[in-house]
Symmetry: D2
Subunit: 344 residues, 4 copies
């Protein structure tokens, strides 16, 4: 039996990726598509400018887009994937949760709220039970689950795999693809033959979300992890795939060999979108590269390379597909965990 | 009176930049151009595929290229700029020095040799007197001076400006332009919609050359600076201009404001190619950007932006034009220092 | 004595290029800057996001932007350069002309109107006297002069140089830079690793504007030229510089040699922005190239290469800098002609 | 029963695409891989720098590369796909044919030879019987079949679909991807923020190969088609996918509507690599685009858009994946035709 699912903000770049991932999904069925008021009432084909590199599914093309409002969503829909701009997400997501919908959201609002689980299933699936706290706190029939920012998702699984070495300090520099800013986020005049340092509040997201994801949940409260993270973020002329340079200092002895072993051994989950293996480790120091490696594991794998002893601890590079593993796929994977753990 | 100068390896990318910079130079005059044996005897116009964005000077176009051999260089030439591949440089530069020529070299060979001055004039002009040691050691009439690697030159002036705060640890991640690998170094299939982590022995160069540049010369020996540097290098789809993310930990209190003040106050030199100011500090966190800022100070300035308190110390971004300040212009500037200090 | 000049629509991409060209201009002085109502009242520094690769002039940075309204422009201003969106241009340019201002406009509105001179000075300076007809028709104290579309300007000077051969049919395919669509016109997601065929109404502009530019003005009426032109336009991932493939069929014998001679002999004008030579002819078939050749003649020259006998007549390639020769520089050059011919 | 097949020149860009296409092929099995003498004897993994975006198949990775010599190819191999440089192809292909191998070659040598079939199966499958003439002429047990140049393959199927309108004159301008020049063919310094007009002997290939492909074979001789073609070729910063602007003049009335109907109705073949439909016609004038449409039909489809009445006849744009439909896939498809028609 498939779960009837909807997409809030279905016309944007992440919304289109969600359609691409949900259309062939074994457990979810696209039942409703919402967008801004100006798009409501139009067939999706007209409301969205389809830009993904697979053709638009016929059933989606002909579906009528509705307003982003709980009253406009059919009652038999259980799960909503949200890719709304964060200001819109902050305004409307609570209303959907109150109306009984379970929302798996990619929007950045509320990610650090005490009673909102911020989840990468392979890293902290146990945090999902924070939903009990959330329902107690807020009196919702529905629920709100978040996935982290795309650049956070790229490196946190590698930290999780190395956590046993007692991580203390992490430096991370990101080389981020233009799709991370949305379809219209970066103009060609800004980025051809160029690079842009410092992406908005991106650095803070890497520094804080990582501590929550690696934190400990005792059934009542979530303790942030003690690792200190400092990030520097850059936009480069690449379409998809965030590449990150990471330095890790740990109190235990963390050799490149021990790291490679821990990374390769780090388990994936028995969920449709969790790839096996989760983490690919390259011996070639010139890998991973965004264009060559972003589609590993159908875009859901994490790649690591360049593992070497650094002047300070260990250094390596990691990569993930920012609009699949880092956004649409992350929300779908959280939906799969919600289903498996009985929240749907 | 102008100094008659030659270019060893005049047909390559850095060789062409050298011609572009020397042609209008107030003190130097291009007197000879050497290249590989297969080019020797041809007019420069035929030997080189001219790719710089200003027209080839007529006098250069018609000049005959000679072999890269001391016997082929006229006696009235005093100064040679070398942009040879490092293996060729290692093989032939000593012969030119022995034959009495002063060589200002961009090639990476011998940069870390005890008696070879590695110079960024605004940073460590006093190291030039290491040439006395060199002449004693080697019995040369000529001399060999090196400029550092392009990615080293980009961030070391900022460290020099902050040295008074007692630097302890530096992390640096580089986003390097394709021209740094030479005209044919990076194919379009490798880099369009992509980025490549880990550039050959580049990381080691940043880590070691910086300690030599910041070191102390007492007239006899050069002591390396105690700062520890760890580098991670990346190639991105940008033509010119290396952008670098830097984290600095110092034992003294290094605030963004104090850093900005020190960077802006750091002096340039009274040499034709030393720009005033040497370091531009941007308040806009999205600057410096390679395409917008690489030509500041005729391509000889260093740009800094994004100065902020980091989880660990201070973080900021810096930028320089890699084939001007980082290569051809660096060699020319060293030539100017050699002239001023009486070595020509 | 310099002419006091203003810029209508000063904050956009062409407006910024106009500032860059006018700031050092020998005859014109920037006296006023207008923009949309939301920018009016702000210092230019705040109203515009400066993106040109030379620093913003201090006097401009501190100037206050005014509304785009004749009442907001000082009386001592004589000449206005307009880079307004065409719909805005159509709405407000006539009002400025009625109020007595001479407007040199890059906006596409009214280019084909019977009594509006469409001018490339080196091609059809004599058409400027259509202004007499215009003033009679409209009762304006001011005047309205247009320059053509950027892709038209690139190839029409070559047709003018070949007109003596009695041109009959022209095919032209364009490879246009992203800056032609304005700073935000083409997103990076649209164009990286891509090309876009068919640019809006661009093809029609090349086909109709060329006939007007090459037409004959007898002092009363302008006869369109009889040449038939068919255009196919494409956007490619290049920042600046439109490259065009041209096929020309003529009734007279048009050899590559005769064409080269006519192109090289085609005269420039004695105006500050008209380059000498106007047209560069390359023997190398792989030239002109946008990045290497767009800045020839300070961005005001036309480059031609690949002249060869075709299956049908003659074929060649041509190039011009689309935001200098094709837009801002074109308007400035028309301003210079207006001054020389006594219209200011 | 699968055919045992080999790849001549297996380490290059087209060779890698051949492996990617043959590995899952229903009828062909990779039995041997040849390369230059310096690679012979090495495992393929070491001999080739694998750059395709799917992982290298394990069996291929471990296979030993042999010399490109008939004696080095096992006797049970029947079919050889050749992606040798044309000078090498000219030197060695006849030897393989004499030794009894059937060679489906992508190399440009001998394409216009009278007794060598130049085939696009959906266009001129009947030309394959030119092999009878070839065997008579040359006394070969084997056979040599060629596919055309990548830029020829892109537009000829559209001409074939329109041939019923009695084509007279064709102008074509190409915007070609960098992969068409091979992995190392275009450096990043040449093409970023740039375009290169005039690609070697490419224009002549479009003009002559198209006449042979559209020609008539009467069982003994091949008559070239009478259509006159003029081509202008350009390289642009796109990875894969050649986009072409086409103008067609026909003696019969060729409206955009009639053309769309004929293009959509043009049949594919019952061969594993022939896509259904063969030609996609877009109504959106901004399609086809290389990045969005090159993978239609697994990279074997032709896309058409922008059909409109031109000043001269009809104009439209077309697109194909240059290393799949235009090279490796073209050779594989010819192999499938050879198998179906009993030549294996």
């Amino acid at each position: 039996m498939t779960v009837r699912a909807g997409i809030l903000g279905a016309t944007g770049a992440v919304g289109q990726r969600l359609i691409q991932l949900l259309e062939p999904h074994p457990d979810f069925e696209i039942a409703t598509l919402t967008a801004s008021d100006s798009s409501a009432g139009k067939p999706y084909r007209e409301a969205a400018k389809w830009r993904v590199d697979t053709p638009i599914p016929d059933t989606v093309a002909d579906a009528t887009v509705t307003e982003t409002d709980p009253d406009a969503v059919p009652d038999d829909v259980d799960l909503l994937f949200s890719s709304l701009p964060s200001s819109v997400g902050a305004a409307v997501e609570p209303g959907f949760c109150e109306a009984g919908y379970v929302v798996s959201s990619n929007s950045s609002n509320a990610r650090m709220a005490d009673d909102v689980p911020l989840i990468i299933p392979e890293v902290n699936a146990d945090h999902l039970d924070l939903l009990e706290v959330q329902r107690d706190d807020r009196g919702w029939d529905g629920a709100l689950v978040k996935n982290p920012n795309c650049s956070t998702i790229t490196f946190v699984p590698t930290l999780a795999a190395l956590a046993e070495f007692d991580l203390e300090r992490v430096h991370v520099a990101t080389l981020q693809a233009v799709s991370g800013a949305g379809y219209d986020g970066v103009t060609s005049m800004e980025i051809i033959d160029n690079a842009i340092p410092h992406i908005g509040s991106e650095e803070e997201k890497l520094e804080t979300e990582s501590k929550k994801l690696l934190g400990t949940f005792d059934g009542a409260e979530l303790d942030l992890h003690g690792v200190d993270v400092s990030a520097s973020c850059n936009r480069i002329p690449t379409l998809d795939g965030h590449l990150e340079n990471v330095w890790v200092e740990a109190s235990d002895d963390l050799t490149p060999e021990a790291a490679a072993e821990a990374l390769e051994a780090y388990p994936s989950l028995d969920l449709p979108s969790s790839p096996e293996p989760l983490i690919h480790v390259f011996e070639d120091f010139e890998r991973p590269q965004p264009r060559l490696d972003r589609t590993l594991g159908e875009g859901m794998a994490i790649s690591v390379g360049g593992l070497q002893e650094s002047t300070f601890g260990l250094q390596y590079n990691c990569l993930a597909h920012n609009t699949i593993r880092g956004a649409a796929g992350a929300s779908v994977l959280n939906g799969e965990l919600l289903l498996k753990n009985g929240y749907l």
